[in-house]
């Protein structure tokens, strides 16, 4: 089989919201030696069903095989590798960083271009929040680096296909 370049691929699954579903799904990725780069799970618009967004690194053919095997799982209602379709995606990040009174204004100004919200302010630390695609978040983190980032908490990617124009 010809293998194409390894890149990161985004797979969406609609699954029944039951105990053990995640273990079944992750087991199939594990078997192929895939690292799940990110994973987001949450209730969907349909009762009893959750939607998951996976980002995995692996050759397209193998991701396709895993997606087909995922579909075989009884609790998986639908799976789609949306990497080659037009889609939008977002990630969210919480960043705790050093910010005394003096720096705080500066940080907020810098961060404004990234649509940042302040979620918590302490004596000399603060926590901010933003959503965006991975690149936005990387650049924000780079920008904040000099101030002393204490903790970064990122969610996995969530993605949806674009609506028809």
């Amino acid at each position: 089989m010809v293998t194409s370049n390894t890149g990161s691929r985004t797979v969406i699954a609609l699954v029944q919201n039951r105990a053990g579903v995640l273990a079944r799904i992750c087991g199939l990725f594990r078997r192929q030696g895939f690292n799940i780069a990110s994973l987001a799970v949450g209730r969907s618009e349909q009762k009893g069903l959750s939607r998951m967004t996976f980002v995995v690194e692996g050759p397209e053919e193998v991701v396709r095989l895993v997606a087909a095997k995922l579909d075989r799982l009884i609790e998986v209602v639908k799976v789609e590798d949306i990497s080659d379709k037009e889609h939008v995606y977002r990630e969210m990040v919480l960043i705790k960083l050093n910010a005394d009174n003096e720096k705080r204004g500066e940080i907020l100004q810098l961060a404004n271009i990234f649509n940042v919200k302040t979620v918590d302010v302490g004596v000399d630390q603060m926590t901010i929040e933003t959503t965006g695609d991975s690149k936005d978040i990387e650049s924000l983190l780079e920008l904040l680096e000099p101030y002393g980032v204490i903790e970064v908490m990122r969610t996995g990617r969530v993605a949806v296909l674009k609506s028809l124009e």
Binding site: M1, Q16, G27, L65, I74
Partner: protein, 564 residues
């Protein structure tokens, strides 16, 4: 009416026809065993090892197409089922395993004999359940049978805590008649019509077509459809190892099986074909060898119920995703009768140029001759169950399978030890058919404790033990691929198998020369009970033809240099 969890389970089994059970009790599952006597419809066969229970259930499933049931207790009982479930999973065999679990309050506390069997069995089951309330049992049983037997069949495990068996709940028996539906689980039936039309075009255009018939034909009972397809368009049929007995081998269009130990003309026909129609087969590496050099001159049509099989190993031109029988019925009315005289003549020439199944004349007793004699003596009408190794390949090659679904062997997992319990299960499933287990002395010793089960229940299985006092297939590989550096391949202290069988109360004979082979087989067939023949075969004997692992038909070895 109030019912216990155990009663609900028993009713569920009866309702779904799962009445033959193979198992061993233990603490966690005892409440279920305590209920069995209330249900005379359920027949429980007490085995000697849970692996035996799982293979017996699998053998039953394969022989009947109905799910065999096995019971095991929590912990070691449950883990002993793993090999059997994996064997069934790899070969798409429906089967239901019921395991006891420690009581709910003990779960997660490393209680005595606690094992996370739903976790451990994830990769070897089609689906599994941990049932935490007795009220869920009816739905779970219903789903389990539905899942095990539909789509691509497979084993389903239901793990039930001890106290859930004993829990009483209100239940209305009319529930059993309700239909179920599982969201997102819709096994395909018919293939896409556009694809069917494309397949028809390819078949019309082809001059050198070959059908590769797999286990899917047997699972979907598409024997007649396959026969019709082959005959009306005059397409020769090769089968996969597990496709053996999907097409009568005494038919002029039958080419036996290709691949690693398949016959040369079948491998060559696949290689030279301009169209391969794979039906319910998954292009296993034992068939394809090097996938980049497999059947490169051909277009490919692939009929399979499992979308995950399409383009998994081999890229195909026309995928027909659906149930084999239904898809063939879609295809057949659209096909015009056709002949391929040149191609069939060509294949006849391949057959005479490469006489793969010719048994050499020798005074030594060899496995090939034993199998051929068994084939003749039973007129190709016996159900054959095998272990894994040389004897399995000789059984596949030299028995002429003339009756439908008469070959039961662990193809995917290659599980030694399958030969004894699976034969037991097959015979329980088909008491009116003759069942011969062709066994190797290695695999036979892995599960021979089930001889006791066989004798105890007078299960009339016959054993042809091809005893070479070696792990024969290992010896062959060490000879051919490891410079004859033999290691851990000989069994130098095998028991006297005749005495052993006798000790279990089974009749047995030993045969060490060609003259006695047929009379012994006749005696075994005439005997109304289980029987074992210990064929003391020559140990230096290899299976040919052979396409070494990962190679192609160009590397096919017809026989060894020393004329072996």
């Amino acid at each position: 009416m109030k019912k216990t969890g155990a009663q609900l389970l028993c009713e569920g089994l009866i309702h779904h026809g799962g009445t033959k059970i193979f198992g061993i009790p233990g603490g966690a599952i005892l409440p279920l065993y305590g209920t069995l006597s209330q249900y005379p419809e359920l027949e429980h066969i007490l085995v000697r090892h849970e692996q035996g229970a799982s293979h017996a259930a699998d053998g039953f499933s394969r022989a009947t197409g109905k799910p065999g049931i096995c019971f095991a207790t929590s912990g070691p009982g449950a883990t002993n089922l793993i090999t059997g479930m994996a064997t069934a999973m790899m070969d798409s065999s429906p089967m239901i395993a019921i395991t006891g679990q420690v009581s709910r309050p003990g779960i997660g506390k490393d209680s005595f004999q606690e094992i996370d069997i739903t976790g451990a069995s994830l990769p070897v089951t089609k689906h599994n359940y941990l049932v935490m309330n007795a009220s869920e049992i009816p739905q779970v049983v219903k789903e389990a049978f539905y899942i095990a037997t539909t789509g691509r069949p497979g084993p389903v495990l239901i793990d039930i805590p001890r106290d859930v068996f004993m829990e009483e709940v209100e239940f209305d028996s009319s529930y059993w008649k309700e239909e179920i539906e599982i969201l997102g689980y819709n096994p395909p039936k018919f293939a896409n019509n556009t694809q069917v039309d494309k397949a028809v075009k390819l078949i019309e255009k082809s001059n050198r077509p070959v059908i590769l018939a797999g286990h899917g034909v047997i699972i979907s009972h598409a024997y007649d459809e396959l026969l019709k397809l082959a005959e009306s368009v005059q397409i020769p049929v090769v089968t996969t190892l597990l496709g053996i007995s999907s097409f009568p081998e005494n038919h002029v269009l039958s080419l036996s099986f290709p691949g690693m130990h398949g016959v040369a003309w079948a491998s060559l026909a696949l290689d030279q074909a301009d169209l391969v129609i794979a039906i319910g087969s998954r292009f296993d590496d034992r068939i394809t060898g090097d996938t980049s050099r497999f059947a490169t001159k051909s277009k490919k049509i692939h009929i399979d119920i499992d979308p995950a099989e399409i383009n998994k190993n081999i890229e195909v031109d026309v995928p027909l995703i659906g149930n084999v029988k239904d898809v063939l019925n879609q295809l057949l009315p659209k096909l015009k009768p056709k002949t391929h005289i040149d191609w069939i003549n060509h294949i006849d020439k391949l057959k005479s140029d490469h006489p793969s199944l010719k048994i050499k004349k020798t005074d030594d007793l060899i496995g090939q001759y034993v199998v051929k004699s068994l084939s003749d003596e039973t007129k190709g009408q016996s159900v054959i169950v095998t272990g894994v190794g040389q004897h399995q390949m000789w059984a596949a090659q030299h028995y002429m399978y003339c009756s439908q679904n008469s070959w039961i062997s662990s193809g995917g997992l290659g599980t030694m030890g399958f030969e004894v319990p699976a034969a037991l299960g097959a015979k329980v499933g088909c008491p009116d058919k003759m069942v011969w287990s062709i066994a190797g002395d290695g695999g036979f010793q892995m599960t021979l404790s089930e001889l006791a089960t066989i004798v105890e229940n007078n299960i009339k299985v016959k054993f042809a033990l091809l005893n070479n006092n070696h792990l024969g297939m290992i010896t062959q590989w060490q000879e051919m691929f490891f410079d004859e550096d033999y290691y851990a391949n000989a069994y130098t202290a095998n028991p006297d198998f005749v005495k052993l069988a006798n000790a279990y109360g089974m009749k047995a004979l030993s045969v060490d020369n060609n003259e006695d082979v047929r009379p012994a087989i006749r005696e075994a067939n005439a005997h109304d009970g289980p029987f074992l023949i210990d064929f003391k075969i020559k140990k230096e004997e290899n299976v040919f033809p052979m396409i070494p692992s990962g190679q192609s038909v160009n590397e096919l070895v017809e026989e060894s240099i020393d004329g072996n």
